[in-house]
């Protein structure tokens, strides 16, 4: 039977470790805030003020009207063209322009076709530039006909703010990083320094060690999550439409899953360095890339989509975005919660097995 006093003793020891290392503690709290600010302000998918070079061979009122239509938007700004023949490839290599527009002679009289060349080395931006240009040309120069009117209605985030997407995501990311990373390091540190053997000869059982080590980090992770939540709501006006108690319950479950992941890593890795690298490879990168944190899962190849099912953050992201933005209740989210529970139990069983093996 796990003894509460012994767990408390181990936990106390761990708290001292955390408190003594004030630099790490500072990073734990500063890091998420910095990321929050970067994501809130800098992660802007929309491209503005594309440098455009225009090669106007027509030089008449029609071509001028077209050029005006381009540069009177926020999307393009005109970069003066050099003397001589337009060379888009060279311009793109020198990064002076991202698009060039060639207007042929006789534009407006016998020809209506213009050529837009786009630097497609960033395909996403290139596509956006193409969409902008098409929009400008269609809006200004097309004849409207009676047809189908679309009445779009955007739910939950009508201004399409990216902070609404990133603030809940950041909570998921920070939690897994702190809980999985710190736990795995704290255990492998004891192993590397040889102090684990000292604990092992004491009458403390493996379960008690694990529980005691994990408890302080649960607290730390939850504090950090609340901090991000508070700052995100104050600074970026991210709504919280669901119930707080539901959020707390699911967050606790997710913290548990992350800790189990950390434990698992630490039982495999022998050194701190190895643990850190493995924890990074198993937590930070998958969470960043495969959970839907930034990139939509539905756009990935099928194999990767299958892999996302074993990434805890995938479920938690749905949960936290559901609670905060959609006001979801348990009824909508219990499946994701169940997946998290199954994952943590599985990992805990494997971790404690491996941990005991090392004892003998």
């Amino acid at each position: 039977m796990p003894n509460l006093n012994r767990i408390k003793a181990i936990a106390e020891k761990e708290v001292f470790h955390i408190l003594r290392d004030s630099r790490t503690l500072t990073i734990i709290f500063i890091m998420p805030l910095l990321q929050l600010i970067i994501f809130g302000y800098a992660m802007n998918m929309e491209i503005r003020q594309v440098p455009l070079v225009v090669d106007d061979s027509a030089l008449n009122s029609s071509s001028q009207a077209l050029i005006d239509a381009f540069i009177h938007t926020d999307y393009f700004h005109l970069v003066p063209k050099d003397e001589g023949i337009l060379n888009p490839g060279e311009l793109f290599k020198e990064r002076r322009a991202q698009a060039t527009l060639s207007i042929p002679q006789g534009f407006g009289k016998d020809s209506f076709t213009v050529l837009l060349k786009i630097d497609a080395s960033d395909p996403n931006s290139a596509q956006m530039i193409q969409n902008y240009a098409n929009g400008i040309v269609n809006n200004r120069f097309a004849i409207a006909g009676a047809g189908i009117t679309l009445q779009p209605l955007i739910l939950y985030n009508p201004d399409l703010k990216s902070s609404f997407f990133f603030v809940p995501g950041l909570i998921a990311l920070i939690l897994v990083m702190i809980c999985a990373l710190l736990t795995s390091i704290s255990i492998s540190r004891e192993k590397e320094m040889g102090t684990m053997e000292q604990i092992l000869v004491s009458p403390v059982s493996a379960t008690e060690i694990l529980l005691g080590k994990v408890l302080p980090y649960i607290f730390l992770g939850l504090m950090d999550a609340l901090l991000i939540l508070g700052v995100g709501m104050l600074l970026f006006q991210v709504p919280f439409r669901g119930e707080f108690i539901v959020f707390l319950g699911f967050t606790f479950l997710y913290v548990l899953t992350s800790l189990c992941l950390g434990l698992l890593v630490s039982t495999v890795a022998k050194t701190q360095q190895g643990a850190m690298m493995m924890a990074l490879g198993m937590t930070l990168l998958p969470t960043l890339l495969l959970s839907g944190y930034m990139f939509p899962i539905s756009s990935m190849p099928v194999i990767l989509q299958k892999i996302t099912y074993i990434i805890p953050a995938r479920y938690y992201l749905q949960i936290i975005r559901g609670i905060m933005l959609k006001g979801n209740s348990v009824r909508h989210l219990y499946q994701s919660g169940l997946s998290l529970l199954i994952m943590s139990v599985t990992m805990l069983i494997i971790a404690s097995r491996r941990f005991k093996l090392r004892l003998s």
Partner: protein, 375 residues
Amino acid sequence: MISLKVIGSFIKKEFRQIMRSREMLIVLFALPAVQLLVMGFAVTNEVKNLNLSFLDYDRSATSRALIQSFDSTDRFRIVPVSNAAKPEELISAWKASVVIVIPPGFGADYGQGRQSNLQVIVDGIDGNTASVANSFVAGVVGDFHRKRMQETMHRSPIPRLNTQVELLSSMTFNPDLRSSLNTIPGIIAILVTVTSMMLSAISLVKEKELGTLEQLLVTPVKKAELMAGKLIPYLIITLVQLQVAIVLAGLIFRIELAGSYGLLLLFSMIYLFTTLGLGILISTRVASQQQAMFFSWFIMVIIILLSGFFVPVQNMPRGIRWISFFNPLSHYMTVLREIVIKGSGITQLMKELWILGGSGVLIFGLSVISFRKRV
């Protein structure tokens, strides 16, 4: 005098230490391969296979044809729902990302040339996906309308009003718009940064923590020898990893280097002075391996986010663009992308050469100064 023999034996020791731990080797070579694979496929802002539901209250031939035209793209995956469902409830329960409501009488109105309405309800939590989805819907409906108009025009030829400006676009350097062409050089830049910084950040503090630094300090090894002996193996390992990554990029993603390989190597060596220097700076300032890892991880996350890997730097607000100017990874990533995708030469990359060279001299210089032979 600096002795090459001493440096040589140091390098040997360092390599032995790295080769002995199997997990380090896995971390150094298998992980990059996995990252390249996963990131190469996952990092894309494309929007595909969105769950789309129709609430068809019209049930006419026209409405069925409209639904059919959505079925033919890979942008959407149509999720059948019962007509009794509420659109808000479908989106709230994560069943659909887009719901299109076709009102009764839609087909009749449309057939008679009256204005007909469609309601499009989009899940807005991911702003990027939502706006893209919106424009896809408009595109498909526009195509549907155009096709119908052409069919009716064939039947009763009216003189076409052709004053419409036609815009032809052509995509330079990446005509198929492969996103991997853009992300893979970025991933390689990140790999180089992470490996070199992590290794050098941990290097000294590990000896400190294990107490072996004191043993080193009582030997007659000079500071320069110690530094060279530590850093040269890391430089070699990182360059080997870069090589592995380039080969894999060619094999898996069919990415051919458009520019010169020598130039890429030159820039990488220059850049490594900055990252190795940063690692040493961290290593001299922290007390434990855990701190070293945390610090380097902290710096890396910030410089990766602001590097232009996920979002082009030019999209960022002015203040942050200014910060990005001081981010060496941002410049190195630009260099890799320009060389790999466009085949740019040194004349087009002069600015980056100066910046990276300057930061290398500055940061490496600082690290040499702060590197003291004491505990």
